[in-house]
Symmetry: C2
Subunit: 341 residues, 2 copies
């Protein structure tokens, strides 16, 4: 069923039907009612391609996922974010277009999206300091919102971010308050913006208390269970070992927990662990993590905010950049204890 057929059926012009369906004010209520009813009965849906051709808008948002960053898509953070953003799009009658591409093709993909006007805007994932995508998107004139920040001088773009710096500063202070002096940081790849900020927060806290941050207790790599395990095993095996760990993700913390178990140490009395995880909300039924003090934020919330922000920006003809900084929440678990004797 298309407009022409519906028009013939009702004996009303295509224009009026279009106006009625799109809630133009000038249509009489009687007509609108009739048209809307008929549209439902006959299962009419406007063809989005035709609509897009006529309006120049695609009613779609793009997400470009470079596949090289395996850790990116295979990652609860990412999945949770996508789910949240997707819901917002659905509610607002937008489509979500995902492009999975080799990282060398990433720039070309953005150019493609812009040239083909396939999407009205894009979300930028996993920004790095001084991210080239931001300049590119600006030059293409494609509206965008960054999930995270790109740490360069340029703040002239919209973003939604978690206060990673503060989260790690607070985590470190929490441990320092407990009396810990030997604190290790197990971090993600520090060429990623979020990981860099986390380290900064960690270092600031230590410096402010005059505690020395030992290089051998600060490691960073892809966030895997295995990396968490190996890092902790190594550190715990040294003559002088940390009494506490701050860990940048749930999955790494699981590895750390394994190492602690194998070392014969007891969580809470022998050793303390704080984790930060943006996607802790994926734990079922709000289950507490049994063995950690967690600095959690909700990536689900960030996904909603990013999506909504982008839709607003697209709707607004002369938008100024907007920024949202989400604070994290510290949940004290029973087994994060004082410094061991």
């Amino acid at each position: 069923m298309n407009l022409k057929e519906l028009s013939a059926l009702l004996g009303i012009s295509q224009t009026t039907i279009s106006r009625a369906l799109n809630d133009f004010p000038e249509v009489s209520e009687a007509t609108r009612k009739r048209v809307k009813a008929a549209a439902i009965t006959h299962n009419y849906r406007a063809n989005p391609r035709a609509k897009g051709l006529a309006t120049g808008r695609s009613m779609a948002i793009g997400h470009v996922i470079p596949i090289s960053t395996k850790h990116e898509i295979v990652n609860p953070i990412f999945a949770d974010f996508i789910a949240a953003a997707g819901e917002v799009y659905s509610r607002n009658a937008h489509d979500m277009l995902m492009s999975v591409v080799a990282d060398v093709d990433e720039e070309r993909t953005y150019r493609d999206l812009a040239a083909k006007t396939s999407v009205d805007g894009v979300i930028v994932h996993g920004p790095k300091p001084n991210d080239s995508r931001i300049k590119l998107l600006k030059s293409l004139g494609l509206p965008f919102v960054v999930h995270g920040r790109a740490s360069d001088g340029d703040t002239d773009y919209s973003w939604v971010d978690v206060n990673n710096r503060r989260s790690f500063e607070r985590a470190a202070n929490f441990l320092l308050d407990l009396g810990h002096q030997r604190i290790a940081l197990i971090n993600g790849l520090e060429f990623m913006d979020f990981a860099k900020r986390r380290k900064d927060g960690f270092l600031d806290a230590l410096n402010n208390r005059g505690v020395i941050a030992r290089p051998e207790w600060m490691v960073s790599d892809e966030m895997t269970e295995d990396f968490g395990y190996r890092s902790a095993i190594f550190m715990l095996g040294q003559p002088v070992a940390p009494t506490a760990f701050i860990v940048s993700s749930m999955i790494m913390a699981i590895g750390v927990r394994r190492a602690i178990g194998e070392a014969g140490l007891k969580m809470g009395s022998d050793i303390s662990v704080i984790i930060h995880d943006d996607a802790l909300s994926y734990l079922p039924n709000g289950a507490e993590i049994p063995m950690f003090t967690a600095t959690k934020s909700s990536v689900h919330h960030a996904g909603q905010l990013c999506a909504q922000m982008l839709l607003d920006i697209i709707a607004d003809k002369d938008p100024i950049p907007r920024h949202i900084l989400l604070e994290t929440e510290l949940t004290v678990g029973e087994s994060t204890g004082p410094v061991p004797k």
Copy 2:
């Protein structure tokens, strides 16, 4: 830059340019060369909406994700699958349209996609026995491929699946061969097709050896670390405890491993664990799992196959259903040992 402009620029009709760009045979090589060169220089991209309007095809594939099944999208299996499928689409100039919807809206979403002809086909995720989506998609005439199977009598649709039944049968036989008699199954939700098949394979193996499958040693729920932990803790705390676990996912196995550690048992000598995980490929650098015997399959491969199969089906005008059953691979780790005395 659009066709008309390019046409004016080159002094060639839009028709010929279109034919040249789409590799129609009747165009002279000289013209084709000129046109293609110009298209590149001037950064011309055919507008997909206009193209779609004219051809009736959308060059897009849909993935509908009901959000209620939290475990679905927040799941390495899903992410890995999407990544693989997405790559195939990219290579074949197709878009990937993801719809994240409340599960009550799922049917409406499929009807929408069909009525608006937004996509040329869809992939069905997480089939349940006798899945209603299959009938729906057939009645809508929307081409589709199922990742997994729906276990009803109807085999008249295309699917790509892992041989879950056999994987678990082999895992159980492996343990039985080692001398284990007390084997526990920690499974996913058994209203999901894959989990049901896994249980069937497990039970068959035990039955064939005359080993009794104890109900209290077969549990099933959402696949979380916590569920794996709690299940194992409980079972290990009973007077008669299992000597081996077969676990349906990596994340649950991590929980099981934690429980084993807390129980003071030693992997490989006191207790054995086999896990099945379709997404083990997400482990970095092909790292071995240090403590398990894994029955692995590659969901990445399944994603590629599903996507390619769907594209083939769409291209073929009178397609017959195709099926692919992927076998799993058993990797014996050092710590899966014989039955303890």
